[in-house]
Symmetry: C2
Subunit: 156 residues, 2 copies
DNA sequence: ACAAAGCGTACCGATTTAGTACCATTTCGC
DNA sequence: GCGAAATGGTACTAAATCGGTACGCTTTGT
């Protein structure tokens, strides 16, 4: 259905909140309260974000999470990668545990070339939006540059 | 999981195939055979595409589907709109049958602004890829133009 | 010691997806 | 006319995913 999961959505919210209080230690309870979301949901995504190395965690009383990195160096792509795990817009780009394509007709599939391109385009778009942009409420306008297609095609 | 459904995928394949035989009447059986996909699946998406006015249908013996429009005038956005129906990257942008936002905390939700932007960015990227590009196997490279963000923000 | 907070895992109901089945309708060729 | 080929429309099922919750463990400040 071409939609990011709510968990990922919550993760973006939480990260933006943390980035807005750069360096401060903030509890999951506070973030959940701010967005009127269930605490267990927020804790879940914060755990994921911490596992992905995007936020720091502080255990014990007075603990919580903090964002200490440079918001301009973290991209929406990084966040979605951490929150959604490995993903591809179309399945024939996915690979199993052994690195083999899960699509049985991969070689013969004439769609592979352009699906690959679309996939790259979306990921590229995500890479060009930084956490700083999100925190500032930036509304990006995408421009597809078709002039580079030949070079890109050769890399296929 | 941020993935288009297989049905949509099949729909794109079918449309590309039809566009490659511009004006010709092609049966669902032929398209399904070409891609090694089940015939009922292809017929399903072709019905959807026809309902969306993107392809023409021809009933009876010797019938099938044809693409008669200009491939440069049909965008990936048009195709996905027809195949996926109304969609939004995040749910708080969705509306119910009465046009009301389905997200209860819509007004208070601080994420709405930038989610809206991301949503627009993805849709905009899809609008800039034509069926002709897909048929040629173009690999587009997206460029996010942040310079327009102020104007866009004011429209919120 | 106690309480606050994160860590990890597992579970459940609801929704969505992928695929199939069935029958009605249209149209061509004989 | 009749039958075969093809689309039109609907409905169904099994599997996967999603959203949310529960529960117990570990860490740490007071």
């Amino acid at each position: 259905m071409l939609r990011i999961s709510k968990l990922t959505d919550y993760g973006l919210l939480a990260t933006v909140y943390l980035a807005g209080k750069h360096g401060e230690i903030v509890s999951a309870r506070e973030i959940a309260g701010f967005y009127h979301l269930p605490v267990p949901m927020i804790t879940k995504v914060l755990k994921t974000l911490h596992a992905g190395g995007l936020v720091n965690s502080h255990r014990g009383v007075g603990g919580g999470y903090s964002f200490d990195a440079d918001a301009e160096e973290v991209t929406l792509g990084n966040l979605i990668d951490a929150l959604e795990g490995p993903w591809d817009l179309v399945e024939c780009e996915s690979t199993d545990d052994n690195g083999h394509a899960t699509c049985a007709i991969r070689i013969a599939c004439p769609s592979r070339r352009f699906m690959f391109g679309i996939n790259r385009a979306i990921k590229g778009a995500f890479e060009q939006v930084t956490l700083g942009d999100l925190a500032r409420g930036v509304i990006p306008a995408p421009i597809i540059d078709k002039s580079v297609l030949r070079a890109a095609q050769r890399t296929q």
